[in-house]
């Protein structure tokens, strides 16, 4: 059951920033000059516990939301923006149904806070097709019947897109490793293997 977990999206807050936002300003002041520390402290804004404004770039469009800081990227898009394509299944970064592409990398959006994604580009299944034209990976999933109930499918497709953008001609082993962070319950793995193997010429979106 070796499963290569996807790394979470590059969380750009440094340990120092984290300490500040966590209110441990004194720990910082000890290491910095008084004026620098004051300037940094002044820049620190507490967020929450109520709703706060969060600005996201999703599928190339700006999205302004008022959400609690604890809301995940997945829940923000599903429940506040009616982008319900990606699903919540395990809700703890295991099954991959929530996989979105953030700054070019696949992430588990159920385990990524929406507020962390400000200033990053987010792509999800709802924006993958260009109008009625399916993305080549979507088309391949249809052609090979690489879906049954379809609940894991959006996550598998996003993980496949991320894989193919990075590795356009993957070996079977690379496909397996690239999709090991996703789980299907109906048992479509064999068909997904066929589908992803058949896709040619995916370029970075």
């Amino acid at each position: 059951m070796a499963r290569k977990g996807k790394k979470p999206g590059s969380f750009s807050v440094s340990r120092r920033d984290f300490l500040k936002t966590a209110g441990v300003v004194s720990a910082v002041t000890a290491a910095a000059s008084p004026t620098e520390a004051e300037a940094q402290a002044a820049a620190v804004r507490g967020v929450g516990p109520g709703e706060v404004p969060v600005r996201l770039m999703v599928n190339g469009k700006r999205l302004d939301l008022m959400i609690e800081p604890r809301v995940t990227l997945l829940d923000a898009l599903r429940m506040r923006a009616d982008m319900t394509g990606n699903k919540r299944v395990c809700d703890r970064g295991t099954c991959g149904a929530c996989t979105m592409i953030v700054d070019g990398r696949p992430v588990y959006s159920c385990s990524t806070l929406a507020i962390e994604c400000q200033g990053k580009t987010v792509r999800n299944i709802d924006g993958l097709a260009a109008g009625t034209a399916l993305h080549p990976v979507q088309q391949a999933f249809c052609d090979k019947d690489a879906l049954m109930c379809g609940f894991c499918t959006p996550g598998f497709i996003m993980a496949s897109v991320a894989l193919l953008e990075k590795t356009p001609n993957p070996t079977p082993e690379q496909i397996r490793k690239g999709l090991d962070g996703n789980i299907c319950r109906c048992g479509t793995f064999s068909r997904i293997m066929e589908a992803v193997s058949s896709v040619k010429g995916v370029t970075r979106g």
Partner: protein, 718 residues
């Protein structure tokens, strides 16, 4: 060969008697039926546009949350909703288990429902649920079946902790053992697993006066309607259930469940739509599981390989007050046999049907025993199985598939038990047989409407669980009308479309296909009758006219005719055989399945692509059962320790072997259904293959690395 008997005319699969009106019969030569038509709703699913119950959003919709018992057995003394009611965003709060009602105030498992809340956001609902104060009187509970069997369990269940079944006995057991050259006495067992539907159980409920519209994640819209109406005490016609897309059920979603009723009551109190989807932990605890199965068996075999006697004491647990039956000795019918079974109750969530209920357990226990018996008399396991097939149908099919599979799989390269190759990696092969009834049934109402613009709508109150029902409807309609499936608009997943059965037990394809065939046939006749005057010919005559031109004759009133399921277009009983090859690392205990061959029949194949997908899915599901899944309980607290998806293991891409699917065409038999059979026998085939590889028998599932190493260590000590 039409009824698939063997050379001596024994044990075939007879085709069904023709339908009452032979005009409906499937044509001997099919057009689109049996071909690989792409799933009609594929584009909706791959784009995320498909709206599952989990995705439904209604104006002013609230989010519901259930308060559940943390204890496996307790009496509810009091429930205080006041703090929850005052919490931010809360619009409704209800007590589900009334402390004053002695019939209803006891929780029987961890996760049993106690109360419910609804709030404006899901986060607020979760917060409010934590504020519900429940006063529990904790009562003694049972976690382990062994506690019950050894008499050390407290008395928990009203009518006893055990339900003892009647003894089933045939022939003369003592005489049977006297004929035996070899006997085996061993205990075999399978474990409890949960359904792990990716879309959890749940409902969106919206009231309009005393009428309820419910989007339910269900395998049966009509069954869910009945469950909601009964549970809420309202007339069934007041309830409309909609399930356009459903994220997996596997048998666990046959009704609305307590979660559906709680959702409806919250919506009633809040006077607003409520969505209530249970979370992953609740899904493991409270929405069903596959019962365990254990069999203490003594079996005898004659020197020439005939099973002479079979004596089994069996038990299993389906949780709190639920049965745990399974067929044994599965497909074999030794002349002298006895079985006693008991259901053992423990304090966990109740079992629900899970893909081929009972069969994977019966198959595992029987086929591993057969493997051991074959070795005792030094007979090839395939020849031993063929020798012991029952006289009745479909033994001829199994024998044929066993030989066909052996040739394709390379069975002649199989070594005797125990791979003697040097090094830690041992490989082996195994085989196992499956069967399932399936078959169609009525009432399955279908309405076909053809309008003057040529659009064909086929309506049926069935549902698509991901099996491909929507596509199947289109394929059968297209075949009958001479159109392409893309020209058909199937409308399903709604009680507005009439009565059809719940999708369970591989009955949907065989229930829906005949009804669609009949309805669309009737529609075509109605169309011909309308067109005939325009052509100046008899309705039965054929004269070239395009579909669009013909439909123009329909006029403002569309053709609208019904069809219902009739016998004669579907059959029961499938048969299949599966082969598995594994590698076992005897240093780490890790089992890797290298390849599986699945030979499967299911009568007339309607939609080849989706039928094959069912077999792939069945094999992978059974592989999960064999190697990974396990509901683990803490023996002291009765808590499930892995109610998630990181410690409740399921196969990923790297765990899935090469799978070869061979569908056997039997068009003469009509439609049967294929959801259950392919998931029956893979676990047994894998276990037999592991035995062939490492030379010792693991008699219980799952085949974890620890268990493999332990079994090998026991053998070394012995």
């Amino acid at each position: 060969m039409a009824d698939f008997r063997d050379e001596q005319g024994r044990g075939g699969q007879a085709p069904p008697p023709p339908p009452a009106d032979p005009k409906y019969a499937w044509l001997p030569k099919q057009g689109v039926i049996g071909t690989s038509i792409k799933r009609l709703d594929g584009p909706e699913k791959v784009t995320g546009r498909a709206k599952y119950t989990f995705d439904i959003a209604r104006p002013g919709m609230l989010y519901g949350r259930i308060v559940r018992s943390p204890y496996p057995h307790a009496r509810i003394r009091a429930v205080d909703l006041s703090a929850a009611q005052k919490a931010p965003g809360v619009k409704a709060a209800i007590v589900w288990r009334d402390p004053a009602n002695a019939q209803r105030n006891t929780v029987m498992f961890q996760g049993d429902e106690v109360a419910g809340v609804a709030a404006d956001t899901e986060e607020h609902a979760i917060d409010a649920a934590r504020l519900v104060k429940v006063d529990y009187e904790v009562l003694p509970h049972i976690t382990l079946v062994d506690q019950v069997l050894t008499g050390s369990a407290p008395a928990v269940f009203q009518d006893g902790n055990v339900r003892q079944g009647a003894v089933q006995e045939t022939g003369d057991l003592a005489a049977g053992f006297k004929q035996a050259a070899q006997t085996i006495e061993e205990t075999y067992s399978t474990h409890v697993i949960t359904h792990v539907c990716l879309e959890s159980h749940g409902t969106v409920c919206e009231w309009e006066g005393d009428r309820l519209t419910a989007w339910v994640s269900t395998q049966g819209v009509n069954a869910a309607r009945e469950g909601l109406a009964t549970g809420l005490g309202i007339p069934q016609p007041n309830v409309r259930v909609i399930t356009q897309y459903m994220g997996g059920g596997f048998g666990s979603k046959m009704g609305p469940g307590a979660e559906g009723l709680i959702c409806a009551k919250l919506a009633q109190e809040a006077k607003a739509p409520v969505k209530l989807m249970v979370d992953r932990k609740e899904e493991h605890l409270a929405t069903g599981n596959r019962p365990s199965a254990t069999a203490r068996i003594k079996a005898g075999v004659s020197a020439d390989g005939v099973l002479t006697a079979f004596d089994a004491e069996t038990w299993g647990t389906g949780g709190a007050g639920a049965a745990a039956g399974f067929p044994l000795p599965y497909i074999y019918l030794p002349p002298n046999r006895r079985r006693t079974h008991k259901d053992v109750y423990i304090n966990t969530g109740q079992q629900r049907p899970m893909r081929a209920p009972g069969h994977p357990q019966g198959s595992f226990i029987t086929e591993v025993l057969m493997e051991e018996l074959a070795d005792k008399i030094k007979m090839d396991p395939i020849e031993f199985r063929i020798k012991n097939l029952p006289p009745e149908a479909p033994n001829a099919m199994w024998a044929t598939y066993l030989r066909q599979g052996a040739a394709e799989f390379g069975w002649n390269k199989r070594h005797p038990t125990g791979d003697t190759t040097a090094g830690p990696i041992k490989t082996g092969m195994g085989v196992a047989i499956n069967t399932w009834g399936g078959g169609g049934r009525g009432p399955t109402q279908v309405r076909c409407e053809i309008s003057s613009d040529g659009v064909v709508v086929v309506k049926c109150g069935t549902q698509d669980l991901g099996t491909g029902t929507r596509t199947l409807v289109a394929v059968v309609a297209a075949e009958t009308l001479g159109l392409s499936p893309a020209m058909i608009r199937p409308e399903i997943g709604d009680t507005m479309y009439g009565v059809a059965g719940a999708s369970g037990g591989s009955t949907t394809a065989a229930g829906v296909s005949p009804a669609v065939r009949i309805a669309t046939f009737n529609a075509l006749e109605a169309l011909k009758a309308k067109v005939a005057p325009a052509l100046g010919v008899e309705a039965t005559a054929s004269k070239g006219l395009s579909w669009a031109d013909a439909c123009k004759q329909i006029g403002p009133q569309p053709i609208s005719v019904e069809g219902n399921w009739q016998p004669g277009l579907s059959s029961v009983t499938t048969s299949g055989v599966q082969f598995a090859e594994v590698s076992v690392d005897i240093e780490t205990g890790i089992v890797k399945v290298n390849r599986v061959l699945a030979i499967q029949d299911c009568g007339l194949i309607v939609s080849r692509l989706t039928a094959e997908s069912q077999v792939y899915g069945g094999v992978i599901g059974s592989l999960n059962f064999a190697l990974f899944e396990d509901r683990i309980l803490d023996r002291n607290t009765g808590q499930m320790v892995n109610p998630n998806m990181e410690w409740y293991l399921l196969a990923g891409m790297s765990d899935v072997p090469r799978i070869d699917v061979r569908l056997i065409d039997q068009p003469e038999r009509g439609v049967i259904g294929i959801g259950e059979p392919p998931t029956v026998s893979t676990a047994a085939a894998i276990t037999c293959a592991v035995r062939n590889a490492i030379g010792v028998t693991v008699r219980s599932l799952p085949l974890t690395p620890a268990k493999i190493l332990q079994t090998l260590a026991q053998q070394r000590r012995a």
